[in-house]
Symmetry: C2
């Protein structure tokens, strides 16, 4: 039995998870990030305690996994940076170890979501695999030879921060050109607004009642499918740069499969067909075998399940 | 005792190499690539045979490693593509296996050069390391958790084909924007000529007696050091894009060290200092620890030694 914690900007979501990746008990409380790391960590421990109390399976909890929305050092358990929690060098593992003697494993939320997807949803059949979570930002999880790659300093698998071109705005990491600024929901919403602000007519103006702040990934894809020209330009740009990101992953580690998760992946086959067509044109030699690209299976709870499974495989 | 073969566009260079990575006997013949793959493979076998004949160490040869200037499938031993040998789907291992029962291991030349560098020159002290060979093209070798990463389909570690921007010319892979078109000697020579052709005055015009075809990486670096403005623009562009390539490797697999090899690495600390300064500005968060970047130690024979060591570690 393992505990998985998905530490987000909005909620601390936890679950008691068995070895097969089933969530038996779930418990979630608001993060309250404005209170600072000490109080948030106390609440993380409260979630852990509640889950342990509710464990009536007869099997003891053997470890705790935590997925964080940022970067940690896997050796020391220190959270190096979580921009949207405003955490810098927070000794998360050491603080929790004052309260529990259970082993604690910490990694990036996209990395542990990848673990859930690979170990549970795909039943461990891939040893060389990558997940790209296309949400507000773009996260990455990498499996090489069956092992999670977090890197020597714990800053690896940050695939959303690959530099691939000249972007229209500065990434929240402070640089220009990150994959995240081309292939996240933030990026496509930004580009849609940009094109409309330039005077291009679009059905999205009507769909949002003229309030462009209401444009969402869903609205963009719906408009694109119905033939809206601006929405199609937005989707085409997303597909182009997402495909460049994918082919760069292929160049580097050539996985067997690349899974697309996160909100944008809800566009499903509509997106996938376009990405696969573009990848054909981006191969570095025509007959090259490249990774299969598929939509991730797990939608909700991937963070909780993945954090628990991460604790299991690290042990 | 192992045999290492460095199959190049010009020579088939082979060596009898001991477990420590010392070359005991060397034998090299011209490739004669225009004759086609069958005759070249016969000559590769001739080199192997000669080396076995000259083995008077009393220890038997246990395997053969071959570094090829292209991409192979490590499972089947088929060379998928070698553009500059004009080889496509050549069953190199199967053809050699008709003549020898020794196990044969084939991988990319930059990958095996990386093995030589990591196993021999760096004495195996790094488990997570990358080599970028900056020559006529840009090659890559990746070590994750002590294992060479060639990828699921054998097309990995092709770091020179990472797409990172809009290039000035089409890469020999047929695409635009490959790291190789910014950070190889071909790329910097092309850019120097381009700037001079645009009418910029440069001491390189005198250094080559007005024959711009004579511009080389060495001439560019010498001119840059002496303050030539065009040469400095060329070096600055190289440094910018090489650093982007390096930071993208950091984002993905975050190695402990990244080594720069190949002709351009002869520029040594002059290049390294500029790259390290640029990397500081490209980190995705200020306090981020990133891979050390150093100049590779092995200059010559890395291909032969690496191919032999590759056979040793694969066995």
């Amino acid at each position: 039995m393992y505990i998985g914690i998905d530490l987000g900007g909005t909620n601390i979501a936890g679950g008691l998870v068995n070895e097969k990746g089933d969530i038996l008990v779930k418990h979630s409380i608001p993060t309250g990030r404005e209170r600072g790391s000490d109080l948030v960590i106390e609440d993380i421990y409260r979630v852990i305690e509640t889950l342990i109390d509710q464990n009536n399976t007869g099997n003891e909890v053997s470890g705790i996994g935590i997925g964080i929305p940022g970067i940690s050092d896997p050796h020391t358990g220190v959270v190096l940076v979580c921009v949207n929690l405003n955490w810098y060098n927070v000794p998360l593992r050491a603080k929790l170890a004052e309260k529990t003697s259970l082993p604690i494993y910490i990694d990036n939320d996209a990395t542990v979501a990848g673990v859930a997807e690979f170990q549970v949803a795909q039943a461990g059949k891939y040893k060389d695999a990558v997940i790209l979570t296309l949400g507000t930002g773009v996260g990455g999880g990498i499996l090489v030879d069956g092992k999670v790659v977090s890197g020597h300093h714990g800053i690896g698998s940050e695939l959303g921060h690959m530099l691939i071109g000249e972007g229209l705005y500065t990434c929240n990491c402070g640089r220009n050109g990150c994959l995240e600024t081309f292939a996240s929901s933030t990026a496509i919403i930004h580009y849609a607004k940009y094109l409309i602000a330039k005077g291009n007519a679009s059905s999205m103006t009507q769909a949002t009642g003229g309030d462009l702040e209401k444009i969402s990934g869903e609205i963009i894809f719906a408009a694109a499918k119905s033939g809206d020209e601006v929405a199609n330009q937005v989707v085409d740009r997303l597909v182009k740069y997402l495909s460049i990101g994918i082919i760069n992953i292929v160049c580097a580690i050539d996985p067997e499969i690349i899974l697309l998760g996160g909100g944008i992946s809800m566009a499903g086959d509509y997106l996938l067909d376009k990405v696969n067509a573009t990848l054909e044109t981006l191969k570095y030699f025509k007959a090259s075998p490249v990774a299969k690209v598929e939509i991730a299976k797990l939608k909700n709870d991937a963070g909780i399940i993945g954090a628990a499974m991460y604790a299991m495989i690290q042990q």
